[in-house]
Symmetry: C3
Subunit: 498 residues, 3 copies
């Protein structure tokens, strides 16, 4: 029997041990870079090292689409059945995305012999991830730009808030809100309309280069309108250039926009027992597993668990499919509007018309724009599905009690808004406020706060069990206080008017 | 000399290295499951996989009480000297808790041949953890339901905040606050009274099953009144079914209820240097060690360090015993009431009577209900104990200076409240507000804010060194602003009344 | 060929594997303790075990200055070219710092045969870290005590906020703000003036000991005035006794003072995409590397990346030098004052005089105190440097768009403040408010909020891309609401006055 020298054995054993340790953190695979991507990297690893490094940490940099397609379907992060031949066997690198569909990008430019576009759009991503775009395009988030910009009431609210004001002869005068300010404020989350305005030549260390110019850029909002006409920005939740599923699954991502005072989902979550467990044990969660296994990969849900991810039991039974239409598991819409109401049928809510002809899902006295909202049967199906997710951890009595409270809360908060609206209408009728712009006066601002902040807060607190947001944090404390103050202010003005 | 083949050596070495790495994360022990628990798991690992997995991560799932009792006393997480024979040698599984004391649970039901109760109560936990219940039952937290529900003034405040309001002939009308809303708001932290109302039969995949029905369920509040008459919910801080000491020791747990604006302990902590160090270095803390070693297991305190945990020095000297009466290391009570005051003697504060006959620890002009509050000697002892904890890291001059400031702050915030109370009493006397309900009018709401939010915030900021809560975050900025606004509002009403 | 016994090989391989794993967490070096430090440790490891353990985790405890000086210059954490002989070859222990320059510390005391001072000051730290002190002494943070205490306007504001108020004959009366309250509030961040008042003898287990006594202690504020006359407290950001670069680089440290509502840098950061990535991936960052490598050691910037740390590319090119003058990379100052303005030339801003003779960088109608502020050329240089940092990850079009928006935002928020100031001046002129103290009345408090909170918030939101702070969180929503309420309040008072 031939024997290895023991000294060699020792060395090999040590190397193996070292490799074993390393392997736990190592990339699972390494795909070759395309020659065009290698060209990009030659300069950009020096010029923009941050994003190159970020990409190198990504799955895109390590796994070719061909390898991704070898995975069982339910473990894939890629929804295309196959991808174009030229993308198949290399890492998904700079050129694979920025060089894609160059002729369909009005803003693509010649760049060292390659035609590239700066702004990669969902349509580009959909070459490998078509199902995600299909779902997203139907969602309210995908339509978020138009849902604000194409609704005249919301536009009036935005302009009232975001506009500079000046004094002219003792009177406050509202100027025009600039696109720049709107882009940093409401449209930072909703997304801007990015318009390509041409190229300029700039001098660089590498000679003269063409740079595309835009109005509305930068923007990372979820409903961004891209120069190629597509809607959305995948990097809102999968920030470039890591495009990570881990980040998208962590609540901090959703929390960039879904936060107090108007949409306090993130805050309520963090305060809830689910959030408590996440904050305490997240270091032991596996945020990268697909599908996501209940109880094993995570101990309490994050936003993505309930609203987005594909879930399976530890035995491997699929519980719910992944969706990128993030409202599609919900039956009721509890924020952003005067009253809670059934989820809209379409993601494009600017098409809704209520009985008064306004683009609102209810009238001021809470009659729903029924044709535009999901019917009771669909609502029930969705609620049943959500309850089945709750039931992965909670008993049926617990779940039933929780949902009964939410229903009661929706009714009571709607009543508190109706009372405030009654006071507001009374003030408008008496001429104590001017309805021409229903959003600008001190009393009107209180009325808006009642539904946009306080009623919304209580409903989120109920839906996701974060009690302070039902109480002292924009909750019942404020719902009640605000009514008393509106009442006092109106009575005070009435007295004076007499 | 006989020699092993070197190839085998290599393989064994690699396996050993692998095991070494694995061992660092492995469970310390594995106790057998009882046959009844195994029956539960057979279905529930499919039906409620989340909680089964959560339990499998727990110490309960791995260590039998007998093994736990082999630990040196100061390292035990179990305070019973011994446990019933039938519990001794198995994991603490589904049946061990849900099947315990079934005859003393009015809500226990027959479930596949076993009698089980859904709601495991502190009395069940006390079979192995009796000292914890004994301490907890004496605490204000254990009595939190009654401390709110059995105090008529607090009940009036709760009903004023939590009730729907409607307009009737131009006047705001306060309706009755529902149990459901109260359960989501004030009583979400304080705990509800859970009443068993009977069983219903439901059809399941496994045939007809009985399900207990409750009023007040779900509830996870610290002072929950359970169907068996016991008080409290251990899973408030040790969430089911992991029952982890790690979670209970992390500030996010306390922060679910002890947070701004009324009890900003969590917020002040996070803003403090202690919180800064926790946020920065927590990944290097050992949150599972019992007892907890100062400086080695943690670098700066969390809530539990100062208020609950058993601490030892690195040399193994016990510094302070564990307590589940979380106020018992405190001498002064700085939140929730009009003035700061010595800690109540009893956890049941509804028994307090002040000189005016009200269930309040002071009168409106700050005379203490002395017989119901700890005396100076006890206060001094507790303060000295807390200072000895501070002194594990801080010099005596530092500690003395810190405590002197706190004393000054308590006096000054009490003065700011007394001034607001003076304004309020003045308004009541003039008829500018109606004292019948002292909590509902706009001016009264400002007065409440002065003590419930602003004075409380400044005191926490002082006690735990989070300066913004002494200033711009519900602190002196608001204490001063609120007085000016109350004064202006009263003067304005006086003018009009003339 | 001589062979090792295979059994031995196995054991050695296992040990090596074990050591390999351990090595990843092990200290890099261990310096001997000086005999004096060992004396300290003999008692203090029992008396103050928390700080002894904290120090044992520190680099100071492991690396001697001599070893530190063997590092390549750009990897050093030490800026002295050499250190005094007696410090060179031991760990930087208790005595090395507390025994340093004892004759120059008025508060040093005899302590078991050694002369030590309790309060180690920046001048002590500068023995090894002179460049850091040199930079810090020029910074606004180093001068933070005087920038508040030596500016009469700010002093008036502090006293107005922090003072107890009482009722006398129906009128609110402002008492004197105590040093203790100011130390817990404004001066907790700015730093107190710490004055040595003598020693007292106390009885301890080790016999009678002298303890230094101070006014203004404890204090950890950034501009603390120390008993030796030096300014600052290194442990504000490198908390004692770990003195870690990791903590200083984490945003929680900056966030202790730079937080909403007045300086919402931390809050805006956490809400931004940078903060989102930090919150999601920080566990994979290397917070200890010097210099800090873009994209490899961190994936998105923390505060320190942009404002303080030495950065290099993955190829090792230095991008920017480390600075401890944390405003020195900034061109515009966007908080704390009525209008945004170019950065002051000197860290000591109390020397600024505007055209009206006040210590403010602009007049009330926004004319800059030009001689005291950096000129346009310097501002452009600094902005260009910051843009070069952005360009490590972002394209030039993105960066240009971002900075153009910030410029627009500064102009618009200044206008919103100018409008509020116009209303305020109008009220002062009409006698509706009394300018004697411009900070105490209800209307004046609204005016302060306009610039101190709301305008500041919008600018931070723009500068660091956290949109909610541009909108509903102290942003445009409040800028607009506040103007309407000021206007209403003035008109209401005017009516009444007629």
């Amino acid at each position: 029997m031939r024997r290895w020298p023991s000294g060699l054995v020792l060395i090999v054993a040590m190397i193996c041990a070292a490799l074993f340790v390393q392997a736990q953190e190592a990339p699972q695979n390494t795909a070759p870079y395309s020659s065009n991507t290698q060209l990009c990297l030659d300069c950009h690893s020096l010029e923009t090292p941050g994003i190159v490094q970020d990409w190198m940490h990504s799955r895109h940099a390590r796994i070719s689409p061909a390898t991704a397609l070898e995975q069982p379907v339910n473990q894939r992060r890629i929804s295309a059945a196959r991808v174009p031949d030229e993308l198949e066997n290399t890492a998904v690198g700079c050129y694979e995305c920025h060089g894609l569909r160059a002729d369909q990008h009005p803003d693509s430019v010649e760049h060292f012999g390659l035609r590239i576009s700066s702004i990669v759009t969902p349509t580009d991503c959909a070459v490998c991830h078509p199902l995600e775009l299909e779902q997203y395009a139907k969602s309210k988030m995908g339509n978020a730009w138009g849902n604000l910009a194409k609704n005249s009431l919301f536009t009036a609210l935005v302009n009232t808030i975001d506009s500079p004001k000046r004094l002219r002869e003792g009177e406050l005068q509202q100027l025009t809100a600039t696109d720049q300010t709107k882009a940093e404020n409401c449209f930072a989350c909703h997304g801007t309309k990015v318009t390509f305005t041409g190229t300029v030549a700039v001098q660089t260390d590498y000679g003269e280069q063409l740079r595309p110019q835009y109005v509305g850029w930068p923007s990372n909002g979820v409903g961004r309108i891209n120069p190629d006409g597509s809607m959305g920005s995948c990097s809102s939740c999968h920030p470039r250039h890591g495009f990570s599923i881990e980040i998208a699954r962590k609540p901090h991502t959703c929390g960039q926009c879904h936060l107090e005072p108007d949409v306090p989902a993130y805050n309520v979550y963090l305060e809830s027992k689910h959030g408590n467990i996440y904050s305490s044990l997240k270091q032991d969660y596996d945020f990268d597993a697909v599908p996501w296994t209940v109880g094993r990969d995570f101990r309490a849900p994050t936003c993505a668990v309930c609203h987005a991810s594909a879930l399976q039991t530890p035995e491997g039974t699929l519980v719910v499919e992944r969706t990128h239409d993030f409202g599609s598991r919900l039956w009721v819409r509890i924020f952003g509007l005067i009253y809670a109401h059934p989820q809209p049928v379409l993601g494009d809510t600017s098409k809704i018309r209520n009985a008064d002809g306004l683009s609102l899902p209810t009238t001021f006295d809470n009659r729903p724009a029924s044709g535009f909202l999901i019917n009771e049967q669909t609502a029930d199906q969705r609620q049943a599905q959500m309850q089945s997710l709750c039931s992965l951890c909670h008993g049926t009595t617990h779940v039933a009690g929780h949902f009964a409270r939410l229903e009661n809360t929706i009714a009571e908060t709607d009543q508190m808004v109706a009372t405030a609206t009654g006071l507001m209408v009374h003030a408008w009728e008496l001429g104590l406020a001017d309805k021409t712009n229903p959003f600008d006066e001190a009393l009107e601002i209180k009325w808006i706060s009642q539904w946009l902040f306080y009623a919304s807060s209580v409903r989120y607190a109920s839906a996701m069990s974060g009690p302070d947001y039902a109480g002292f944090k924009n909750g019942w404390w404020y719902l009640s206080k605000n009514l008393r103050e509106m009442d006092k202010q109106i009575k005070c003005s009435e007295t004076k008017a007499k």
